[in-house]
Amino acid sequence: MKLPHLIGLLASAFLSMSAHAETAIVLNSVDENISFVDTKTYKETGKAPACKEPHHLMATPDDSSVIVACAISNELVFFDPKTGKEQKRIKNISDPYQLGFSPDNKWFVANSLRLDRVDLYKAADFSLVARVPAAKTPSHMAFDKASQFVFITLQDSNEILAIDLKTQQPLWKLPVGPTPAGIHMTPDDKYLLVGIMGADYVEVIDWRARKTVKKIVTAKAAHNFLARGDGRHVFVSNRTVNGSISLVDMQTLTEVEKYDVPGGPDDMEIRADGKELWATARFGRKVQVIDLEQKKVSRSIPVGRSPHGVSFINHAARQ
């Protein structure tokens, strides 16, 4: 077992003992609020206002905050993942849609899907370093292990954009399948997996050679990724009304399992013990809980409109 895996597992084990680690935070994009869900009773316990048109949330690398990206109100809102209380707001973060921290924690990247731009900030103080034009419709992002590059899916021009973080300049673009959405780096740092939302597959890209090496058929509207935490598998949400979630083996580059998940599964989170996968059902106003031993949806938790992100502190490692 590699050191980062061990650290991740130890951290998860420690956090799972926390008395306050039982609340999931769910972002409701259209309702512009967040729901708190008790992960033991599977009930929504409350709601809190977020901001104008929030899209996506992510935990900070140290899990001390959950950040909500507020596209219309141009800000980031930080919530305490244990208590759900708002910690702070950072204003003048222009039109953030999808967020990411580079693995070395030096860079904070915000994609502006609406306004065709990628903003690079210093992660230490969220000060803007560069604005990179990124037509059209920059959606999701992934980083290489060395934090040299950030790779962005361009939804409406069907491309991957690579940005050099040292120079903050666009480096290259690579055509991919129709409407690329989620993007994920394999643990060996070799391949980028791209969810091809306009079709039914995950495109595997050898990013150093800049070529597609394989297409893994999953299901219609392959959308987003979440690592299972075992360093080998990744979940892929296939976001249609009668959707599903595929499990892809990143070593063999094959689909190994699939679960029916109705309601447009989108963003996901996995429990530290690896037994449950939570997915926001964008078209169902629900969070679907998938029992990974039974391999089926075991709970449907009503939340707000267009749930677009779920996070809990008691999660598995991120790879």
Binding site: P49, S73, L115, T179, G198, N242, G264, F283, S306
Partner: protein
């Protein structure tokens, strides 16, 4: 109970989206617009529910306590068509498709020049934490902006050339609310988009704000004797109040040469800006058209669309202001 209704609504929305909208989006390579398409289905469904509520509440008022008795309701048909085009999303979708790219470009340009327009919450940070207060404040602001948009559409001759279509109905009913020239709808969309850009109307409030405006507007156009009473008529725009706005004969006072009672929701704007006129009796509605062609267009959708453009062209060519009363 509420959760059960929500579940039914979401199931219907999902089914419509999956059956009608999503296949088209995928077929035309527009998978990027899936979320927008799904929200669009909700928009149409809520519009339909709002219309059903309006029909259930206001049609009985027209039947039981009419302001005017009509032998035939044929003239209402064209207003029904306008309403369906509006509520089924065709008009809003077209307006959005035309305006969204322009405003995206504008916003994008502003951001690249490090200009982030200030929003209402920058001055009133507390609004972030009080959604209901925020909704009410945006409702008041929106209504204020609508008052001026409406008033200006009566003031400028070129704009009146379009807006006159709305006033040409002599059998005004709750359906008349949506009777607008399509270019007039486009200008209204432009007005709203500018407002959004400068104060940042929360998208989450949008449907609620729209439904509130539409319900009151449906009611205010209703052919009924219903009033909100001596005080109530000065608090919320109702059928009697708005009927005076549509009166065939405008009050003689020069203050009202472009019309009166421009408010959409709250009469306070007419009170503040001295454009309020209210009498007990209920006047006939309509305008005095200037030509046989205009009279012929009263009940015909395409004739109205053509007429609006012709009158707009004439107004812009001659730069001569036309009187709202024709």
């Amino acid at each position: 109970m509420m959760q059960l209704l929500t579940d039914y609504f979401v199931a219907l929305q999902g089914w419509l989206f999956d059956t009608l909208v999503q296949p088209l989006l995928f077929a035309f390579g527009l998978a990027s617009y899936v979320e927008m398409g799904f929200d669009g289905v909700e928009f149409v469904l809520l519009g339909s529910i709002e219309l059903a509520i309006a029909y259930a509440l206001m049609r009985p008022l027209e039947a039981l306590w009419p302001a005017e008795q009509w032998k035939q309701r044929q003239a209402v048909r064209v207003d029904v068509l306008y309403t369906l085009l509006n509520r089924l999303g065709l008009v809003p979708l077209t307006v959005f498709a035309l305006l969204a790219p322009i405003f995206m470009e504008l916003e994008s340009w502003l951001r690249f020049n490090n200009i982030i327009p200030r929003q209402l919450e920058d001055w009133l940070p507390g609004l972030d934490y009080h959604p209901l207060v925020s909704f009410l404040i945006y409702l008041v602001i929106l209504d204020f902006a609508e008052y001026w948009r409406h008033r200006l559409s009566h003031t400028f001759g070129w704009w009146w050339a379009l807006h006159g279509i709305h006033h040409s109905q002599r059998q005004m009913s709750f359906w008349t609310d949506s009777r607008n020239h399509l270019v007039d709808d486009l200008i209204a969309g432009l007005w709203f988009a500018c407002l959004s850009l400068f104060i940042g109307v929360p998208p989450g409030h949008f449907i609620g704000l729209l439904i509130a405006l539409r319900l009151v507007e449906n009611l205010s156009h209703t052919n009924t004797r219903l009033t909100f009473g001596g005080i109530g008529d000065y608090l919320l725009v109702g059928p009697r109040y708005h009927r005076w706005h549509h009166a065939l004969e405008l009050p003689a006072d020069p203050r009202f040469r472009y019309g009166c009672n421009f408010a959409i929701l709250f009469p306070v704007w007419d009170i503040l800006f001295d454009t309020l006129y209210l009498k007990e009796y209920l006047p006939p509605t309509g305008i005095h058209e200037g030509s046989a062609e205009e009279v012929a267009a009263r009940d015909n959708f395409w004739a109205q669309q053509k007429l609006g453009l012709v009158l707009l062209w004439k107004a812009l060519s001659s730069r001569k202001k036309q009187s709202p009363s024709g």
